[in-house]
Amino acid sequence: MYLYDDIDRRMLADRAQEFRAQCARRLAGEINEDQFKPLRLMNGLYLQLHAYMLRIAIPYGTLSADQLRALAHVARTYDKGYGHFTTRTNLQLHWIKLRDAPDILDHLAEVGLHAIQTSGNCIRNLTADPYAGAAGDEVDDSRVWAEVIRQWSTFHPEFSYLPRKFKIAVTASPTDRAATRIYDIGLRLYRDADGELAFEVGVGGGLGRLPYIGAVIRERLPVRHLLSFLQAILRVYNLHGRRDNIHKARIKVLVASLGPDELARQVEAEWEASDKAAADLPHAELARIRAGFMPTGFEALPAVSRRFEAAKADSRALARFARHNLAPHKQPGYTIVHVSLKAIGETPGDCSADQMDLVADLADRYSHGEIRVAYEQNLILPHVKLDDVPDVHAALDAAGLATPNIALISDIIACPGLDYCALANARAIPVAQDIARRFADPDLAEKIGELKIKISGCINACGHHHVGHIGILGVDKKGEEYYQLSLGGSGEGDASIAQILGPAVPAARVAPFIDDLVGVYLAERRDGERFLDTVRRTGLAPFKAAAYADAH
């Protein structure tokens, strides 16, 4: 994978040193909290309910084994021995002390990690396809382009004080595994009729208070013009995005008020008038970055592994794991292995320091030293030989990391919610735990099939509830936790915003409610239909009738 160069290393060391001095000034009373808060936020340090929270960037969800070990070390030394992977593929540590933060940034900088672009009104840490470099269906490695944008956007002086935060996602596959349609800019790379790489550019997606699916403002952007075109979009947004109302400041509101056609016209005009050559990446620099992602060390193997097939025949657990936690690799004889951070009854996305060390060791031994973070809050070993899957499965299983539930009903996205977050209205984690326990039977989960439940503890929607097949939003009813359910959302290629089912229910009613919804689906579904397909075909009526039957 791409390794940071001297410029990056110096930048991170300088940044850590700068933050150390800022912390010292705050503790000495030379600056007050109002002055310090934006500085600590620019280094990913939030003050939450019980302690400070450090949000560590994992650029485009790619980690080396050494970086994951460093995260384990930080979690063990400065936190309570675990971390929480988020829907932005970052890692949050929830029990950080301000006095330790400078030392933590030093540790992270030593392995090329940091907390830059994890807060503030800048271009945030990029998201890319977690299968990049391994997926059989990709036209290119999306991390190459994510890294190009990272180098361009980090500390970009023109775009450091935007009207609001700005998130970009990149995919290079027809299957969208990076939720690009709910991003401020979603870049989808494809090969055009001439075989040339081009981007489809979507703008104005986003969740939160005002959920929108992004609109395509350019169907074909030659890849050489990526940075000049991004610059044009950001310039139009920087000039016209609202700064008078935080709830209307994201680019999605600008797109909605101007209309996608008018926004596209303004972006094209800005782009035509700009000095493209000054902004676009020189070919040699692109080649240098691309070289950092060149695949190495794949062996020529048969497409079918006798060892793996025999082991599956002997073990129902391994066979089930193979059905749900593996994905096809572009290289014959290899596979992509999902490490589930959704063990039944555990906190979605949480990973202990010992588990991080184990996954790092497995990555070194079996996956070219690489780990990926998926926005669904799971980890991925991207390059595992089929021959090695039985060993990898056994090691993961022993550590509680092999729950065979990827994309099933217990693979629930949940934000930290009111258990940790100062902004939350209601808890999300216990709701996820309740539902997972109710559907703990793996045969039942398999019978139900793909069903994506996403839970947010407030309208900011870190848990992506708007794009859940079932979305659950925690609301505050005079200080009591209630949950509003919605159906029919998707954050993937067929993106849609879920529709609210009916009045919010108290916490204890949520899991039984899900039971009712699943019952309707199992009764109504036609051959091959996922839960989402059935909801789209029938509409909400049968689900509403069953779930609120008691209310009539």
């Binding site: 909290e33 309910l49 808890r427 984690i429 216990p430």
Partner: protein, 120 residues
């Protein structure tokens, strides 16, 4: 109205309460104000302790069998710790003071959250 003064400690973010003499990590040791004048005077004084505290504010509490608990669930969570990891946070020490907080019912909006949203 019964109230307690709370804040997060600057150096480590720990939730603290005003005991009448000093800042304590234990809700059970918090001073319960019965009159608005002294509560608000203490809040004003706390706001000058800028090198020790972040965002001091008053929370409403209720009496429960001779002890007290915050009325707001959010504030009970701050006084206890997260519900998904009962060995983390203040609740880890256990005992009667913690048990009372864990059993308390009651609901109200937290001024801490309202202030945070307003400032955002």
């Amino acid at each position: 109205m019964l109230r307690v003064l709370t804040a997060n400690r600057l150096i480590d973010g720990e939730v603290v309460f005003w005991s009448g003499q000093d800042w304590t990590e234990s809700f059970a040791k918090a001073l319960v104000f019965e009159d608005d004048g002294s509560a608000e005077a203490s809040e004003t004084a706390a706001k000058t302790e800028v090198t020790r505290l972040v965002d001091p504010y008053l929370i409403e509490v209720m009496e429960m069998g001779g002890r007290f608990a915050p009325v707001s669930f959010r504030e009970r969570l701050r006084a206890l710790g997260p519900t998904n990891k009962l060995d983390h946070g203040k609740q880890a020490v256990g005992g009667a003071d913690i048990a009372i907080l864990a059993q308390a019912q009651g609901a109200a909006r937290s001024k801490g959250r309202v202030d945070l949203i307003r400032r955002k």
